[in-house]
Structures are given as structure tokens and as C-alpha cells.
């Protein structure tokens, strides 16, 4: 079985500053990893995914994530955040069947 832990429930960051949202997973098999974003009162939208190959994955809206197998992590980063990045971010893991979502990290952009 797979599980995913998002280490921070909320992350405040100043506009134009860099941000990292942390995600750790556990699995006994090879995994696929995802980051989704949810804006208020909307569904989830895929930011990026790791299936195989390069451990650095680039996604939409300037986000990227790095798969670290030895640390079982898949942290999400952005070098400079904008007020429009205010949202809930979900890390997710799949062992090949269903996807398990983390509890989410709320990103607060401070002016």
C-alpha cells in the first residue's frame, strides 16, 4: 500500500519569493507521483507528474518538482511566487492502480 505525507498544512510566503512545498511518500513498489493544485471552489488541476526518467520534472505555471528515491520525497518548488498562486496544493502517489492524495498544503502569498 502507498501513503503520502505533506509536512506543512500551511505555508506563508512573500510575493516574488521562492517557495518549497514538501511531500514524502511510502511504498513497497515503484511509484508514480503527482502534484495537483486546487483553487477555491474548484476541482483539482494537474501541475506535474513523475512517471519515470529524469528526476527533475517541470510543470505548468513555473512549478517544478524533484523525485528523490533515497529520501522518498517529491518536493514542489517555484523560484518566484505570484499572488495568483494562492491555492491548495496536493501531492499524490500511485503504485499503479488508484491514486492516494495527501491532506494538502495551503499556500498563502503575502503582499
Amino acid at each position: 500500500a502507498q501513503s503520502v505525507t505533506q509536512l506543512d498544512s500551511q505555508v506563508p510566503v512573500f510575493e516574488e519569493a521562492p517557495v518549497e512545498l514538501r511531500c514524502n511518500y511510502s511504498s513497497s513498489v515503484s511509484v508514480y507521483l503527482f502534484w495537483y493544485v486546487q483553487y477555491p471552489n474548484q476541482g483539482l488541476q494537474l501541475l506535474l507528474k513523475y512517471l519515470s526518467g529524469s528526476t527533475l520534472v517541470k510543470g505548468i505555471n513555473g512549478f517544478e518538482a524533484e523525485f528523490n528515491k533515497s529520501q522518498t520525497s517529491f518536493h514542489l518548488r517555484k523560484p518566484s511566487v505570484h499572488i495568483s498562486d494562492t491555492a491548495e496544493y496536493f501531492c499524490a502517489v500511485s503504485g499503479g492502480d488508484k491514486i492516494i492524495f495527501g491532506k494538502g498544503t495551503r499556500l498563502h502569498i503575502l503582499p
Partner: protein, 115 residues
């Protein structure tokens, strides 16, 4: 761009009443998912369909919840009777086929409030 459609967007109902949600996936997507998202939590899978067949309903409270996808296209999720603890966002998603590597596309959700 094709989208997953859900209706209604918001629903307020009294406890013990019946409520139903509808989802129309992206055309051609064989797999359809219903998730429940409690405020402050991530989505939790309730039921997964592959075409018209249920693949996984292990987390569906079958005493009160039911789901169908009769023609393998759109789907309905029903709760009868609704309880206060059912207040949540109900999300529908679809993907080309089953398998964890396939991207799931989410609809806007139905926010249910049970009073």
C-alpha cells in the same frame, strides 16, 4: 478544451433526505472516479468505474451511498438518507483508462451541505 461536467455545483439538503449528483466525463474517457473531499483534507476515492463496471467501491458506504454508470458514459452518485457528516465536496474525475500513470481530469465539484 474538453472538461468534466458536474451538477449541481451547490446543494443544501436536510438530514434524512435523498440527494443525487451527476457527472459527465470527458468524451472517450473509459474510467470515471467519484471522490469525497472533506474540508481541509485531500480527496478520498469513493468509487471507480471502468466503462460501466465498478472497479473499486471499497470505501463507498454502501448502506446509504450508491453509484451507477449505466451506459458507460455519465454517472450518478446518490446518498439516501443524507447525514450531517456527509457535508463535503464531491468531486468527479475521468481518465482515458484505468491505471495510476494516467492523468485524472477533475470536474468543479458539488459542495453538499447537510443541515
Amino acid at each position: 478544451e474538453a472538461e468534466v461536467a458536474q451538477s449541481p455545483r451547490y446543494k443544501i439538503t436536510e438530514k434524512s433526505q435523498a440527494v443525487a449528483f451527476w457527472c459527465d466525463p470527458i468524451s472517450g474517457h473509459a474510467t470515471l472516479y467519484w471522490y469525497r473531499q472533506i474540508l481541509g483534507q485531500g480527496p478520498e476515492l469513493l468509487v471507480q468505474f471502468q466503462d460501466e463496471s465498478v472497479v473499486d467501491d471499497s470505501q463507498l458506504p454502501k448502506d446509504r451511498f450508491s453509484a451507477e454508470r449505466l451506459k458507460g458514459v455519465d454517472s450518478t452518485l446518490k446518498i439516501q438518507p443524507a447525514e450531517l457528516g456527509d457535508s463535503a465536496m464531491y468531486l468527479c474525475a475521468s481518465s482515458l483508462t484505468t491505471g495510476g500513470s494516467y492523468e485524472q481530469y477533475f470536474g468543479p465539484g458539488t459542495r453538499l451541505t447537510v443541515t
